[in-house]
Amino acid sequence: MSFLSLSHLEKTFGTNRVVKDFNLSVEKGEFISLLGPSGCGKTTVLRMVAGFETPTSGGIVIDGQEVTGLKPNQRNIGMMFQAYALFPNMTVAENVAFGLKVKGVAKDKRDARVEEMLRLIGLPEMGGRYPFQLSGGQQQRVALARALAPSPRVLLLDEPLSALDAKVRVSLRNEIREIQRELGITTIFVTHDQEEALSMSDRVVVMNGGIAEQVGAPFEVYNRPSTRFVATFVGTLNVFDGAVTGPQSVTLAGVPVTLAEPVEASKGATVALALRPEAVQLGRVEGADVVLPATIESVEFLGSIIRVRARAGGSVVALDTFNRMDAPPPAIGAETEVSLHARDLIVLAG
Amino acid sequence: MMRVVAWGVFLLGCLFFLLPLVGMTEFSLKMRRGVYSFDAYAAVFGDPAFWATFGYSLALAAATIVVGVVLVVPTAYWVRLRLPQARPFVEFITLLPLVIPAIVIVFGYIRMYNTSSFLPLTGSALGTDILLTMGYATLALPYMYRSVDTGLRTIDVGTLTEAAQSLGAGWVTILARIILPNVMVAVLSGAFLTLAIVLGEFTMAALLNRPAFGPYMQLLGANRAYEPPALAVIAFAITWGCMGLMQLATRFAKHERAKA
């Protein structure tokens, strides 16, 4: 029996079905991301778990308790919002103590818990400050402490990093994940940023149009996307057209290739073959299944990685190579070759 | 449940606001015994004193608006452009008329500008009119200044000025041809509010003994029964008109900005 389970969740606003038959089981202590473009329904799912929206149908169970009909303040849930949402009239300590105070926890116990929480987020000296005196990153950490102080059963994070600048975002996401592991708290994280989702989560739910397109570990979702949407939304992708020649073989730009998995298409049909930029190599590589002549179109030097775009096999291919001091990047317009392996090709359904 | 309470509060409030309006309208139509008529309005409009005092207040409002614009636009512009350090001082002054009651200000005028003073403005009718205009400009100062200053905030005063200077424009040209047209909407909005304030003003005009619309209404109220509510309806319509024009000006401004 999973710790948090959402079964057949539906939400309709007027005639607009925002969430369609959404199912998800979360284990205790698991960190799950809901990833998708804006309007895909991920925030609505989160708000239904929090109790701000009532599902049109379906049920939510937390730790064996049916909570679908409960009000938000009866669910014992912690939540972080995109816009911090700290109470501006209270100090940091009063903000963190709020959940305990409304529960009627005694003052000395409250104070001890607040101190513990502030130490946890690394702001032990800030208890007396007001939110407007803190930076965005500090405010969001206080919001985390406030959400965790009453020891909630589930932690909900509604794009908590998207209002912060890039550097703070990366350091805070590591911090959140560390604290989450330390406390072993079941967490649902909503984001539209694939890098955040992939780097933080135990499992990722990729959503589109109110539907969970794929649920899986980051490695799996990235390398074995089950739909075209997932493949294109998560990460960068090169797509080739391939002509099916047999149950497991295609031709790619005239070169016959044997795929790792069978193709579900009849002979003569065209399928889309996708390839991550890091799976394409520059030059002729020993043992490669396909080698195509290529013309360099652009070179983007990103530091540790160099992203090259080359015209090959009738389309533009993006490929990533690591920076090496002894191998300067190719010149634009240079004639060269690119190599790829059949095992890296992903056949996109639909 | 909450919605029922909300509706209840809202409707009760509306009732409180609508009843006096209905009351004055109904009363103003009852001059002729037994039937509703516009006799009270005819009486008001037939009174030469109505037109004289209304015209007088209108003229004074126009003068007040001119004084206000000439005073406020260059000052607000200059404070933004060159004297940001004077801003707290200027803003404090512009807020003072909200703090000091009008009756106290006009009391000061009467004592300061009497016939035996260094500037005997109250000695002549024209002098008193000037004094009253200045008094009205003082009353309108907080609204005019805030409106114009907000208008200036939306345009880049510094760049506009430098551009005009590089083309050889002098200060008067810059103010009249560049800055004023750009804050015209703000000026208009302040002007309509000034108009509403001046037309209804009673205290200053009464104490300076000038034949303005406010004292006329008071005098009529003390002596007649049906004309006063008719006057109230007219005054309400005027206030509504001024506010409507003011909103129109702001909406126009938003529209213009959206287009830009």
Partner: protein, 291 residues
């Protein structure tokens, strides 16, 4: 922010201050000097010597009563104006009323808050005066004689009701943006932390709004305290409140001592200035929070 070019190295006579000279002259002549004249006059004998006697002379039964009535009038109209205005604004912002009522209410409030003075008095006389619409209606339809119940428009409570016609809309105009400033996330954060609706209002929303409400109260107080025209048109010169007393004193020296008039006016300045300073201070505080 670009760094400022260093070009005003040689310190000249600050000519650019001349730019606000016209404004400074206007403010001095028509605002500051007249007010100073009153303030100084309050501490002068008729031949110009310094005295505290005028202030002490304010302590007569009649003047004390006038100040007390004025303060009560301002307090009641400000308190009721705040309460009713808040309730109406809250009904419109949170009560689930259709969106269409909001804009007309704000427009109407803009008009009504400026519809003060003489015509406002006429409107109330025509409605709840001795032969007003409601008075007559209650008498003929229900046999209720308002006067027999002790109600009289030309009295303290009549004045309170009349003043509310511009006090309530002023409150609505100022408090509606403040209510809009309450973020949805605050309510949701409070709920998710286990707070009930009442706890949210008591611990979060009202403390956040408190400076705005108290500040608006101070503004309404000053607004009522300095108002002359409505009271004068309603009751004539006999009602004993400070502005009316001062009005009569300016017209005809009813106190028999010009310098006592200055003291009376100075007392008004003290009270309205105090109320407004409170307003400005609280406003700065609430804006700091909501940054």
């Amino acid at each position: 922010m670009p760094t400022e070019p260093i070009r005003r190295a040689p310190r000249r006579f600050p000519l650019h201050w001349l730019g606000i000279l016209p404004f400074a002259i206007f403010a001095t002549l028509f605002l500051i000097l007249p007010t100073m004249r009153i303030v100084l006059g309050a501490f002068q004998t008729p031949d110009g010597g310094f005295t505290l006697q005028n202030m002490l002379d304010l302590n007569t039964d009649s003047i004390r009563a006038a100040y007390w009535t004025s303060i009560k009038l301002s307090f009641y109209t400000a308190a009721l104006g705040c309460a009713v205005g808040f309730a109406m604004a809250a009904a419109v912002v949170f009560g689930g009323l259709p969106k269409g009522v909001r804009s007309p209410l704000l427009t109407f409030s803009g008009v009504a808050s400026n519809f003060a003075g003489v015509p406002l008095a006429f409107a109330f006389i025509a409605t709840i005066g001795p032969v007003g619409l409601i008075t007559v209606w209650l008498r003929t339809e229900f046999g209720i004689n308002l006067r027999a119940y002790g109600f009289n428009l030309l009295s303290f409570w009549g004045l309170v009701i009349t003043y509310l016609f511009f006090q309530i809309p002023l409150m609505i105009l100022i408090i509606t943006p403040a209510l809009d400033g309450l973020k949805r996330e605050w309510r949701e954060a409070a709920a998710v932390l286990g707070a009930t609706g009442v706890q949210y209002w008591r611990m979060v929303a009202l403390p956040i709004l408190f400076p705005s409400i108290l500040g608006t109260f101070a503004l309404l107080f000053a607004n009522a305290f300095g108002a002359v025209a409505t009271a004068f048109a309603l009751t004539g010169p006999q009602l004993n409140i400070v502005p009316i007393k001062l009005f009569a004193q300016i017209r005809g020296d009813v106190l028999g001592n010009p310098n006592l008039g200055y003291a009376l006016a100075f007392g008004m300045i003290l009270i309205t200035a105090g109320a407004n300073l409170l307003y400005i201070w609280l406003r700065v505080r609430s804006e700091r929070w909501l940054k």
